[in-house]
Structures are given as structure tokens and as C-alpha cells.
Amino acid sequence: MYVIDYINNLCSGRGPFPFFLVISSWGFTLVLMVILIYHFFLYMIGKKYRNKKFVYDLGRDTENNRKEKNKK
């Protein structure tokens, strides 16, 4: 009974679950902002990005890549 009450409280309207969503969404926004600023800074100082997976995904035949190639 105690467990069911506990789970019900966990899920209820403005209980811990929406609180978790609020905190995690705000926190993750902050993390993404930091990543963005970090990469922008590295771009400004001219540091090349060499992540294999990203480069592999980027090198595939996507529409953006085709546009870039056409521009060149």
C-alpha cells in the first residue's frame, strides 16, 4: 500500500516527476549552451574537429553535402 501511494505521489500533477522534467530540461539547456559556446570558441581559434563518427555521418550523401559540393 505504501509503495502504491509512493508511486502515485511520484506521478501526480505537480509532484516529483514534473519537477524532474523542469530541472532536467533547464539543466540540459545549460549543458547544450556550454557545448555550443565551446565549439564556437574552438571554431574561432581555428581548431579542426576530427570526431570519426560525426565526420563519417557528414561525409555521407546528404542534401547539405551536395549543396556544399555544388558551391565548391
Binding site: 500533477g13 555521418d57 542534401e63
Partner: protein, 361 residues
């Protein structure tokens, strides 16, 4: 391999957008200017659809989870996908509850909520076990019906002589502040919710048409919602539209053409229910795909059944009543919904652009 045509994508997205929005008077906190809020949110909707489709163009054969892991790396991408699972569970159960309550309020007032929600869920699970193509094909049949019904309601209510356009005046009587305050709410619900289709784009045959379809859906649905709001406010007035349980249903009940065409509310309930069914099912399939990707489990059927059972419990446990549900809407959208629908995809796209520039250095 699952395939859906561009027309099926259009009908799925359209029905998803219009789905539960007919239940609420969106942006009604701006009073008689609520329809302006919808049109302003439409612009934000076009912007976010541009971001979604840019991501899709960058990764045409990948789903949302794979995009996250490619752009943010495996660990952070997985964390983000995990958060999206919980946000989608929240939206999905809200949606399920809304339609359960709608049936309870309008047709089956003595039936326990769990029976309504349970049968709704069985239907959704049954459809999804047959595959997303089945849902897409059914949407092809039902979308014209929904569209014709909405237009017919607009015409019939006008012919009934119930519309008083004076209710819409003064335009911008309270200035721009209430419109700006109501904007995040409508930007998230319904336009931002289209993020779930990032899990579907990989199935579309003609991928180069996705942006055109997405933009068309946002514009057509936005205009239709603005007209619905104009009808709601001009018939009920902004005060009653704000407090009515289901404003559009109240409007439909007032249709009366010479005592011949009247009592259309039963048909209306059924057709509004179609919208809810599609919205709920699209959300459900999208989220099950996210979970399967996270668990690296290709057999989604077991996850689907377990997810459905959890949703039945959750949609009943998380809110005591429909009034509470409506009160919670602004909290959900302003405090976390808008982050998942607008902020995360935009930041993700910007990170992608900067990383791409760094690769090309």
C-alpha cells in the same frame, strides 16, 4: 522495411496537429485576440519546422535518436533521448487523458475512466501491432472527413445565425502584452509537438518533399485553428470560451438550422475522437521507437504493449480531474514543454552547424 508516402505523411501530420487542439480554446488568456496568438505562433511553427527539416536534411536516413548521438556524442545523445522519452510519456498521457475525459463529458458519463482509456489503448496497440503503414493508410481516409467536418461546422454555425463578430472587438484592445504572454503555450502546443515526426521521416519515400509537406501542414493547421478560435469566440464570447470544458463542442451544440439540422454533437464527438486517436497513436509509436533505439531492441512489439499498459496507469494517476489538467497546461508548456519542442532542437542544430564548419576548417 516500413514506407509511407508523402500524402500519408501529410495526413498523419495534419491530423496530429488538428487532433486535440479542437478541445481547447488555445491562447484564450489573450481574450478576444486569441486568434492573433495562433497566427503569431504559426510563424514560430514555421521557424521550428525549418529547424526540424534542416536536421532531417542533414541526416536523411537517421531518426531523432541517431541524430542526437551523432551531433552530441553517444553519452550525451543517450541522456537527451532518455529525457525525450519522459517528456513524450508526459504529453502522450495528457493526450490520452484529454480524450478519455472528452468521452466521459460528452457521451459516456457513467462509464469508469479506465474502461474508456483502456479500450482506446487496445485500439491503438492493435493498430500499431499491424504497423505504422496501417495507421498512415487510415489517416488517408479520415483526414478528408475531418477537414470536411470542420468546414461544415463553420458554415452551419454561420447559417444558424449564432456568430456575433462584435465579440472579436476591440482588436488588440489590451495591447500586445497578453499575446506575447500566451505565445509560448501555443507555440509548443500544437506546433512544437511535431518534433515526434523526426522519428518518422526516415520512413518517407520522397524525402526531398518533407519540408514542403511540413510547412504546408503548419500553415493549413494554423489557419484552421485560427478560424476555429474566431468561431469559438464569436459564438460563445471570450469569457465563456475561456471557462467552457470543450468550447468547440459547445459551439457545435448550438447548430440549429430550422430545427432540421441540429443535435450534431454526437457526430462531432466521434470525429473529434478520431483526431485524438491519431495524435495519441502517433506519439505512442514515436516514443516506442525512441525506447527501442535506446535499448537497442529491434522488436518493438513487446515494448509497445508494456508502454501501453504503463500509459493507462499513468494517464489516470497523474491528474485528479480535467479541471486540474487544464490548469496544468500552462505550467507544462512554459516550464519544460517549450524546451523540448523548441530550445533543444534549435541548440542541437546550431551545434551541428558549428561542428560542420569546424570539420571543413
Amino acid at each position: 522495411m516500413t514506407h509511407i508516402s508523402k500524402y500519408q505523411l501529410f495526413t498523419l501530420m495534419f491530423i496530429f496537429e488538428v487532433g486535440s487542439t479542437t478541445l481547447f480554446a488555445l491562447g484564450i488568456s489573450a481574450k478576444q485576440d486569441a486568434w492573433i496568438v495562433i497566427l503569431a505562433a504559426l510563424l514560430l511553427g514555421v521557424f521550428i519546422m525549418y529547424i526540424f527539416t534542416e536536421l532531417q536534411k542533414a541526416y536523411p536516413n537517421k531518426n531523432f535518436v541517431e541524430m542526437m548521438t551523432s551531433i552530441l556524442g553517444n553519452k550525451l545523445g543517450m541522456v537527451m533521448a532518455f529525457l525525450y522519452v519522459w517528456q513524450t510519456i508526459w504529453s502522450n498521457s495528457r493526450n490520452l487523458r484529454e480524450f478519455g475525459e472528452m468521452i466521459l463529458l460528452t457521451s459516456l458519463s457513467r462509464t469508469p475512466l479506465i474502461v474508456i482509456i483502456g479500450s482506446f489503448m487496445i485500439l491503438s496497440i492493435f493498430t500499431l501491432l499491424k504497423g505504422i503503414e496501417v495507421l498512415a493508410r487510415v489517416s488517408e481516409i479520415l483526414t478528408p472527413l475531418l477537414l470536411i467536418f470542420l468546414v461544415m461546422v463553420f458554415i452551419l454555425i454561420y447559417l444558424s445565425g449564432e456568430m456575433n463578430f462584435e465579440n472579436l472587438r476591440p482588436v488588440l484592445g489590451n495591447g500586445l502584452k497578453p499575446i506575447i504572454r500566451a505565445l509560448p503555450n501555443v507555440a509548443m502546443f500544437p506546433f512544437g509537438e511535431l518534433y515526434i515526426f523526426l522519428m518518422y521521416y526516415q520512413f518517407v519515400n520522397e524525402k526531398e518533399e518533407i519540408r514542403k509537406i511540413g510547412m504546408t501542414v503548419v500553415i493549413v493547421a494554423g489557419v484552421l485553428l485560427a478560424i476555429t478560435l474566431i468561431v469559438d469566440i464569436s459564438v460563445l464570447g471570450d469569457k465563456y470560451a475561456a471557462i467552457a470544458a470543450i468550447p468547440f463542442w459547445e459551439v457545435i451544440r448550438l447548430i440549429n438550422i430550422r430545427e432540421i439540422i441540429t443535435n450534431l454533437d454526437a457526430i462531432a464527438t466521434m470525429i473529434i475522437f478520431y483526431g485524438g486517436f491519431f495524435k495519441m497513436t502517433v506519439y505512442m509509436y514515436g516514443n516506442v521507437l525512441i525506447i527501442s533505439d535506446l535499448l537497442k531492441n529491434k522488436n518493438y512489439k513487446l515494448i509497445l504493449i508494456l508502454y501501453g499498459l504503463f500509459l493507462i496507469y499513468f494517464s489516470i494517476a497523474f491528474e485528479p480531474s480535467f479541471a486540474y489538467h487544464r490548469w496544468m497546461t500552462s505550467f507544462d508548456t512554459n516550464y519544460f514543454g517549450i524546451y523540448f519542442t523548441h530550445v533543444f532542437p534549435t541548440l542541437m542544430f546550431l551545434i551541428y552547424v558549428v561542428k560542420r564548419k569546424r570539420v571543413q576548417l
